[in-house]
Symmetry: C2
C-alpha cells in the first residue's frame, strides 16, 4: 500500500548492507561509516523518501515513544485541556500520546489500561476514577511507569500531580464568610475519591473557623448519573430549608453549570440573593451575567508536570516516587458579593 521503502531498499540502491544504512542514518553513530558512503546513503534515503518504520524500531528497542493518557471525562473542558497540555508537552519531548476517557467507569479504565499496555506505551498518565485502586496496584506490581494526575489515593504510594484541594475549598469558603455570608452551602459529587473528600473537609473547616455552625442540609452530594435532576433537587433543598443558604460553593465546573442554570430559572439574582463561588473556569461562564468568583486550577502546570515526572520516572534508574502538590488560586470577581 505505502511506505514500501525500507532500509533494505536503500541498501540495495547504494550497494551496501542494511547495517551501514542504519548506522549512516542514525545520529550519534557517525564513526561507523565513511562520510562519502554516508552521504550516498543519505541522498538515496531522501530520493526514495525513506520514512523509518517506527513499529519495527519499537519492537527492537522495546520502547515506543508513546505515552498513554486516561482521563475521567473528555466532555469536561477541564480534562480536555489537560489532555491538550499533556499532548503538547509530550510532543515537545518526542513522544506521541494515545488517550482515552474512562467516563468515570472503572471497567472502561481497565479496558483502556490493557489496550494501552498491549500497544506498549512507555508510560501512563491517569486521572483515576472511583474504585480503581486495584488498577493502580496492578500497575505498581507490573512496574509500569505511571503518574496520577488531579486525583490520587492517599493510602497508595505512587507518583502524582495534584492540587491542594483542601486549601482551595477552605480559601473559597473563607472568602464567602468574609463577604458576610452566614449560611454557606456546598454542592459536591458523591464519591469516595480523596480530592472530593478534601474539598468537603476544606468547606467544613472553613465554616468552623468562621464561627458558622454548619447545617447538614447545606452540604449536598449528587451522583454522576442524572446530574441535571439531582442538582436541581439538591439546590432546591438547600434553598427550601428554614435557614435557606445565602451562598453556594460548587465543587466542580459541571456542578456549577447545572446549578446556575437552575438558579437562574428561579429568578434568583447573583450575588444579591445568592453568592457563588465555583471550582474551575470555563468558556461557558463567559456569558454569565455576573462574573464568577472561582478556584483556578493550574491546568497547564498540572499537565506539564505530569509529563515531566513520568519521563523522569521512565529514564530514572531509581524509579522513585514524586508527589507534587500545586496551589490553586482564588480569582475574586463579582459573584461572591465582595467586589
Amino acid at each position: 500500500m505505502r511506505n514500501k521503502v525500507s532500509l533494505k531498499d536503500i541498501a540495495q540502491k547504494v550497494g551496501v548492507s542494511t547495517a551501514a544504512v542504519s548506522y549512516a542514518l542514525s545520529t550519534g553513530k557517525e564513526g561507523k561509516v565513511s562520510e562519502e558512503v554516508a552521504n550516498r546513503i543519505k541522498a538515496a534515503a531522501k530520493e526514495l523518501n525513506y520514512q523509518p518504520n517506527q513499529i519495527a524500531k519499537s519492537l527492537k528497542m522495546g520502547r515506543t515513544n508513546t505515552l498513554g493518557l486516561i482521563i475521567a471525562d473528555v466532555s469536561n473542558p477541564f480534562f480536555a485541556t489537560i489532555a491538550r497540555v499533556v499532548e503538547d508537552e509530550a510532543n515537545k519531548h518526542g513522544y506521541t500520546v494515545i488517550f482515552g476517557s474512562s467516563d468515570e467507569c472503572p471497567e472502561r479504565a481497565w479496558d483502556l489500561i490493557n489496550v494501552l499496555l498491549n500497544r506498549q506505551v512507555d508510560g501512563l498518565i491517569i486521572v483515576p476514577s472511583e474504585a480503581s485502586e486495584e488498577q493502580i496496584l496492578y500497575l505498581k506490581d507490573q512496574k509500569v511507569p505511571f503518574v496520577l494526575i488531579d486525583r490520587y489515593f492517599p493510602e497508595i504510594s505512587s507518583s502524582f500531580v495534584a492540587i491542594n484541594n483542601y486549601k482551595a475549598a477552605y480559601d473559597a469558603v473563607m472568602h464567602l464568610a468574609k463577604a458576610g455570608r452566614k449560611r454557606i452551602g456546598m454542592l459536591a459529587y458523591k464519591t469516595s475519591l480523596f480530592h472530593m473528600q478534601e474539598r468537603k473537609r476544606g468547606y467544613q473547616e472553613a465554616l468552623r473557623d468562621s464561627g458558622l455552625s454548619p447545617d447538614e442540609n447545606w452540604l449536598k452530594e449528587v451522583r454522576h448519573g442524572d446530574i441535571k435532576n439531582e442538582v436541581k433537587t439538591a439546590v432546591e433543598e438547600m434553598l427550601a430549608s428554614d435557614d435557606a443558604i445565602d451562598a453556594l460553593f460548587f465543587a466542580t465546573n459541571t456542578l456549577a453549570i447545572n446549578g446556575l442554570k437552575y438558579i437562574d430559572s428561579l429568578k434568583l439574582k447573583v450575588p444579591d440573593d445568592l453568592a457563588i463561588v465555583s471550582f474551575d473556569e470555563g468558556e461557558a461562564f463567559d456569558f454569565y451575567y455576573c462574573p464568577l468568583t472561582f478556584v483556578r486550577q493550574p491546568v497547564v502546570e498540572l499537565g506539564n508536570k505530569s509529563v515531566q515526572l513520568l519521563l523522569a520516572q521512565m529514564s530514572g534508574s531509581d524509579g522513585g516516587i514524586s508527589q507534587v502538590h500545586l496551589d490553586p488560586e482564588l480569582v475574586i470577581r463579582k459573584s461572591s458579593g465582595l467586589v
Copy 2:
C-alpha cells in the same frame, strides 16, 4: 520492565512450540491444535496473564488497527466533539485513534501526517487546513487510505464527509430576511477553504433572493491570528456604516463568541437592536441571555460516517471514493427575532 510474558514463555511452560500457542490462542484457527493441548495452552496463558504484544503483531501483519485523526483546532468544541465521536466509533470497530491538532497550520499538519504514517496507522481522518492541498495529493499518491471531514477541496477527488455549507448559510440568512431584517451582515474567516466560500455564497445568494441589495461593508472577514481584535473592528465597522446592520450571521462558533462579547459591551440588545444567527452550538451559549438561533451541524453523524467510510475504504478492494454531504439544521430560537 513489564509484559515479560510472550508466546515463548507459554510454549515453554506447556512444552509445545510457539506456533502451537499462536494457533491455540487465535480465533478461527481451531482445527490446528487438539482440544486438549489448546486447553492447556489457554490455561497457561491465563495463569501467566499473557497479553499479546501488539507491536510485534503489527509488524508481522502490516496493520496496526490504529487510525490517525488530524483536526484543525482542539480548543474548538466543534472539533473536540468530532474527535470524541471518531474515537468512540473507531473503538467500536476495534481501532485505536491517535490524534493531533494542526492548529490550522499546514506545516504542523505535515509533521502530524509524517508522525502518524511512521507509526503505521492504517488510515487517516483529516480536517484539512488551508494550503494543505499538496498533503492530500501526497496521500493519494502514496495510496494511503484517508477521509476528509468537515472540509474538502472540490478540485481534488477524494473521499470526504461534509455538510452542505451553502444551504446552511442560505437557510440561516433567508430566515433572518423573513424575520424582516433588511441589513444583514456576515462575519466570516478570511480563508480560501471551500467550506467558507460556500457559506459566503449562501449568504450572498440569500440576500439576492430576498431582494436585499448587499452592501460590501456587510460581509467582513477576519484572520485566525488576533481574532478578538479583528472581530471587534469588523463588527464596529458593520455597525458604524451609514446603513448599520440590523442582523448578523456568524460563520463559526468562535466568531460568534467573540462577536457577542463585543456586542454585549456595546449594550446592544439581541434581538431588538441586532438579530443573531450563529453557526454551531456550544456550552458557552447556554448562559447567553438570549437563546441563539443557530445552524446545528450533525457532528455525531459526521464523525461516525467518516470512520465508516475509512474502514470501508481500507477493507474495500476497489479503494473507491465516497463523498457524503449531510444536511445541517437551522434551530430557531429567540435571537433571530421571529419567535
